[in-house]
């Protein structure tokens, strides 16, 4: 009921790449989204990166909802790329299918030429200053949750905002209040951009 009207994907299927650098909370976001799917009864499988690559290097997770049990997403087939870092967003672009969306934590946003070129390649770009918003909350570390709030408000995935919020509240009890503030801030950002008609740049 609180969701924004956007390009709808298939109602119960999605392939998502979550990208960032070690320590940004890529695995946390992936697990919350997967748990949301599980609670809704949607079959999901996730692939994470552990070990050596965690030490400050590029990391990505794959999340597949309702599309089989293979853990990895083939390049050129992802619906959504959720990037906590601009560089990692660009690096992981080849995963997207034609018509896919890049949702990226970036300020002021990707360069106009890049966005224009990607539009030509049928990739929509949605830039959100998630770190800026999180810093205003006094915790730059929750930029990942801000961006997830933005994502959930846009219903780019078959996961309603309230269900994501619920899974988030259970996932990290030690910083429940902060996470809930962050996810709300992400939702407000989504509404703000909707009002400004800046959604699909």
């Amino acid at each position: 009921m609180n969701e924004l009207q956007t390009t709808s994907l298939r109602p119960s299927e999605a392939k998502v790449i979550i990208a960032g650098i070690g320590g940004q909370g890529v695995i946390f976001i992936t697990r919350v989204l997967a748990q949301t799917a599980a609670t809704l009864g949607l079959p999901a499988i996730v692939s994470e990166v552990h070990g050596m690559s965690q030490r400050g290097g590029s990391v990505n997770s794959h999340l597949k909802i309702g599309v089989g049990e293979a853990p990895l997403i083939r390049s050129g087939t992802a619906d959504l790329l959720f990037a906590l870092d601009e560089l990692e967003g660009l690096r992981n672009l080849p995963f997207l299918r034609r018509g896919g969306t890049l949702l990226v934590n970036a300020e002021p946003g990707l360069p106009f030429e890049t966005v224009a070129h990607l539009a030509h390649l049928e990739i929509a770009v949605l830039s959100v200053p998630a770190t800026h918003i999180a810093t205003e909350l006094g915790a730059p570390g929750v930029a990942n949750v801000v961006l997830m709030g933005f994502l959930a408000a846009h219903s780019l995935l078959p996961l309603p905002f309230d269900a994501v919020r619920e899974a988030l509240a259970i996932a990290a009890p030690h910083q429940r209040e902060l996470n809930l503030q962050a996810v709300e801030a992400g939702r407000r950002a989504a509404w703000f951009l909707q009002g400004r008609r800046l959604r699909w740049t």
Partner: protein, 624 residues
């Protein structure tokens, strides 16, 4: 019913707990490390009594679990694939002797490889050792296969392997914690029953045990032929192309076929060894061409006596190395299907996007030692003290990343730094060279397999400096305790805390000195004296213990004494600190004019102050 998202390794752990496994031992190693931690978690949640142990190494872990099995307790041992090499001695022997209560061996393979020195296939180790293998394709199936494995192990009284791979270990799937009922296992009858003709069999009796083992394997093959874990799924039987796949590759292949818009039959193999030969032969005979997709090597393919219609790793149709990523499987299937005359759908490809991203030449973000890492300080001191002419043998752990600082010249396997240092000393002596040798090894790795080579070095009179990088935990794999850290796998206090210095002295090393790598000048002084001892007429191996807790694991010491830094105006962007020290918090400005401190990464360790030759990295003052 409540569904929880569990990691593949946790699903395996849940399987062990719910099947009444009483003893689980392990040594940490990616991608297997979360199995034992999962057992600790689920035995508490499900109220089961399971003994868990981070053993000193995989051989000890295996033998501990084996003795428990021989005493009537369901037991399991988990490790990464190269850990199975360490445990292979008891594995091969136990295949002959057999077991009493179920014994499940879980080596996690690492196709890629992502965190290992090899891409070896534990299924092939099992084939050589004559141990049956289950090859799960998903976390859910891995959990279920634990039950099959215990049942098979007890039916035939032999150790049984369940072999996951990285992508399964680190995949997450939702499942209910209420499985199909918990297997009960009482403590009754738990006792070692003497039978020297089996448990202490001499070579003559071993021959008879080998005959018995071969007979068991024939029966296992018959059981596997009837198992629902091996079955033909999907596809119209057109008789042209068939796919045989196991593990994660099965699901990837199935999805690739769907994307390519082709329906051909796929034979899923859940038990690759001993291979149900008749089943596979019938499938091959029903098709003109068969592709085998398996990881990381060719185990199913190798067991097929007639490969004239079969394509896979061995004939080069499937690449001989690397993981079977969706792109690889798609490419292989597209090639085989096109050759067989199928029309395939390649609409999912987006080459322009690939080209666009390649054109951006994005900088690679390789893994680096963390900000504040004591290993970085130790390596920096080693390089300054000994220079590039020194041979730096090193070992397995976070500190292998010291290769980026030019302070790691060799990395072979666990504990090899010490024996390689001995070997280089010998080669130098025989070749008349006097090159200094300074080896590095972590605390957990030293305890795992560094002690025996150190004893050997003392005994043979080798001369080198060994720096034990003691960060008081097994950092790389997620901070598991060691015998030196004083806690057990479940967090309870250890029976006794073992000191590394005492072990080193016990090996007969005369020079043993602990030093804090954060205290740069003192640490270098100790290194210098250690080197002098190694060269003195009465000297020998000298051991320096670099003591400083891992910054990620225990930041207490750092918080007590923070030393925030600033970059002075004199910085001219010469890049020395970036190359020689390489802390992620030191960042070169995009115009290359100078270096900045990245405040979100800096941990205020102050270690970079002594690095800048121009003194441009300074302690932050109130007004700076």
């Amino acid at each position: 019913m409540k569904y929880e998202v569990l990691l593949g390794n946790q699903a395996i752990a849940l399987g062990l707990v719910e099947q009444g496994c009483r003893v689980v031992t392990s040594y940490p190693g990616t991608p297997s490390s979360e199995i034992l931690a999962g057992v600790v978690k689920f035995q508490q949640r499900l109220g089961r009594d399971v003994y868990t142990e981070w053993s000193i190494n995989e051989k000890v872990a295996f033998e501990t679990a084996l003795a428990c099995s021989w005493s009537g307790l369901r037991s399991a041992v988990a490790m990464k694939q190269v850990g199975l090499n360490v445990a292979s001695d008891p594995l091969f022997s136990a295949a002959y002797t057999g077991v009493r209560a179920g014994l499940v061996v879980i080596p996690a393979d690492d196709p890629g490889p992502f965190s290992s020195q090899t891409e070896q296939d534990s299924r092939l180790t099992a084939l050589t050792a004559k141990v049956p293998v289950f090859d799960p394709s998903s976390p859910l199936e891995a959990r279920a296969m634990i039950r099959h494995a215990f049942e098979l192990s007890e039916r035939f009284r032999m150790p049984v392997m369940v072999r996951p791979t990285t992508r399964l270990c680190h995949a997450c799937q939702a499942m209910s914690l209420d499985g199909d009922g918990l297997a009960e296992h009482s403590g009754d009858g738990v006792q070692f029953l003497k039978d020297p003709s089996r448990w202490a069999a001499t070579p003559r009796l071993r021959y008879r045990l080998h005959v018995e083992l071969s007979d068991k394997l024939r029966q296992v093959e018959t059981a596997f032929a009837e198992s629902s874990l091996n079955a033909v799924l999907d596809g119209d039987v057109l008789g042209k192309v068939g796919v045989i796949a196991s593990g994660v590759a099965f699901h990837t292949a199935r999805e690739a076929l769907r994307e390519l818009g082709v329906a051909v039959p796929a034979l899923k193999i859940g038990t690759p060894y001993p291979l149900p030969q008749q089943l596979v032969r019938n499938f091959v005979a029903a098709h003109h061409t068969v592709v085998v997709l398996e990881e990381p090597d060719a185990c199913i393919e190798l067991q097929l006596p007639d490969r004239s219609q079969v394509h896979g790793r061995l004939d080069g149709t499937v690449p001989a190395a690397g993981e079977l990523a969706p792109e690889v499987i798609s490419e292989v299937l597209a090639h085989v299907l096109t050759a067989a005359g199928y029309e395939i759908n390649r609409s999912a490809e987006n080459p322009e996007l690939q080209a666009f991203v390649s054109g951006l030449s994005l900088p690679v973000r390789a893994p680096r030692l963390c900000p504040g890492c004591p290993h970085r300080s130790a390596f920096f001191a080693l390089k300054r003290e000994f220079g590039a002419k020194t041979i730096f043998p090193s070992d397995i752990g976070c500190y292998t990343l010291g290769v980026n600082m030019g302070a790691v010249d060799t990395c072979v396997d666990m504990g090899a730094s010490v024996s390689m240092a001995s070997g280089f000393y010998l080669a130098n002596r025989l070749g008349g060279n006097t090159q200094p040798i300074v080896a590095t090894i972590g605390d957990s790795t030293f305890l795992h397999s560094g002690i025996a080579p150190l004893l050997n070095a003392v005994h043979t009179g080798a001369r080198f400096v060994l720096v034990i990088l003691d960060n008081q935990t097994t950092a790389m794999t997620g901070f598991q305790p060691t015998p030196a850290s004083g806690t057990l796998a479940d967090g309870s206090p250890a029976a006794r805390q073992v000191g590394i210095a005492g072990i080193v002295r016990g090996c007969g090393v005369a020079f043993v000195e602990p030093a804090d790598p954060y205290d740069h000048s003192h640490f270098r002084g100790v290194l210098r004296r250690a080197y002098q001892h190694s060269q003195a007429p009465e000297g020998g191996v000298a051991v320096v213990i670099a003591e400083r807790p891992c910054t990620l694991h225990d930041a207490q010491l750092l918080r007590q004494n923070p030393l925030p830094v600033a970059i002075a105006e004199t910085c001219d962007g010469c890049r020395y600190c970036l190359e020689a020290f390489g802390c992620p918090a030191l960042v070169l400005r995009t115009d290359g004019s100078r270096v900045d401190i990245e405040p979100n990464l800096c941990v205020a360790c102050g270690q970079c102050i002594s690095v800048c030759p121009k003194g441009s990295i300074v302690a932050q003052t109130a007004d700076s």
